[in-house]
Point group: C2
Chain length 185, copies 2
């Protein structure tokens, strides 16, 4: 027969329910971040514009994978989305059930930190290229391509939104895990 | 007269000294990251190449601030360097003295997370532009400029190193803080 543990004092109950509340917020934010990264990856990955004119030898077409940085952006968002859905969601649910778990929260901080870096790297690199596509650069003699490829540019610009939103969510989630750990102290 | 506290049991001593050891490692890594970001900011911020020929109206010159992304890179490294030196170092020293401090470690996780994102954004955006400078992009008709501006390109490429090194150090430091917090549990 199992020995029954004595009920925790009221103060501890309160601490636990606050930790659990933060854990539920954590889960909701993670689901939003999954949609953000998924949306970004799909929006960028399907970007392809063919202009309605061509010469005999050249078809004017802009595809996201003409620019390696955009390919990296899609891969980074794919990895982050996979991590958030497959690894972090089960952990987040586990933290709602076991509000006092400490080691797995430290692990989550570690993995989240790597992911926020991967995601920021992809989003920022893509943003730098999108900026050149819009404005060009006269010193380097790089022309703005957005006058020609308007739809292409709207798509690549819009696809940044979901990715940066996911970055902001992860920036919030990492200290939240730290906060719960410090409260348990 | 002060009331003397009873000495902590041996197990607690051991825990404390491990936490203190990690805190000292944390301090050393932060000092390295300060040099990394400072070196990157200075290397990029002083990059300026004038080619040894000019036409009557044009002097061929490449400066880091011709490209806004590089200006962002210098600012991001400057902010990270200032944060690491002025805010995080005193906190890191405090953590060596007060190994059990929990709230200030949670604060450090929060600030480090913001800084790793700022730094990654600056470094990745600059890396994306450096890539175009080296390879160009035939689809967008952007020419590689590194054939002409060789010294410029060596400098801007080299200046990425310190910044990425600091990013890797911060990726390590954030989970280390989380680890100490989870051990105190």
């Amino acid at each position: 027969m199992k020995r029954e543990e004595p009920p925790p004092p009221i103060q501890e109950y309160k601490e636990l329910s606050v930790s659990r509340g933060i854990s539920i917020l954590d889960l909701i934010l993670r689901i939003l971040a999954i949609f953000g990264t998924l949306g970004s990856a799909v929006a960028m990955g399907t970007t392809d514009e063919t202009l309605p004119f061509s010469t005999q030898s050249v078809i004017f077409q802009a595809q996201y994978d003409d620019i390696p940085t955009f390919r990296f952006f899609v891969i980074a968002n794919g990895i982050a989305c996979g991590y958030l859905a497959i690894i972090s969601l089960p952990l987040a649910i586990y933290h709602i059930i076991r509000a006092t778990s400490a080691k797995s929260r430290a692990l989550l901080i570690f993995l989240d930190t790597i992911m926020v870096t991967v995601l920021t790297a992809g989003a920022s690199a893509a943003a730098a290229i999108v900026y050149i596509a819009h404005k060009g650069n006269s010193s380097a003699n790089w022309a703005a391509i957005c006058q020609q490829y308007q739809t292409f540019c709207v798509r690549i610009t819009g696809s940044l939104i979901g990715s940066f939103a996911a970055v902001f969510i992860l920036i919030l989630l990492i200290p939240l895990s730290g906060l719960i750990l410090s409260r348990q102290h």
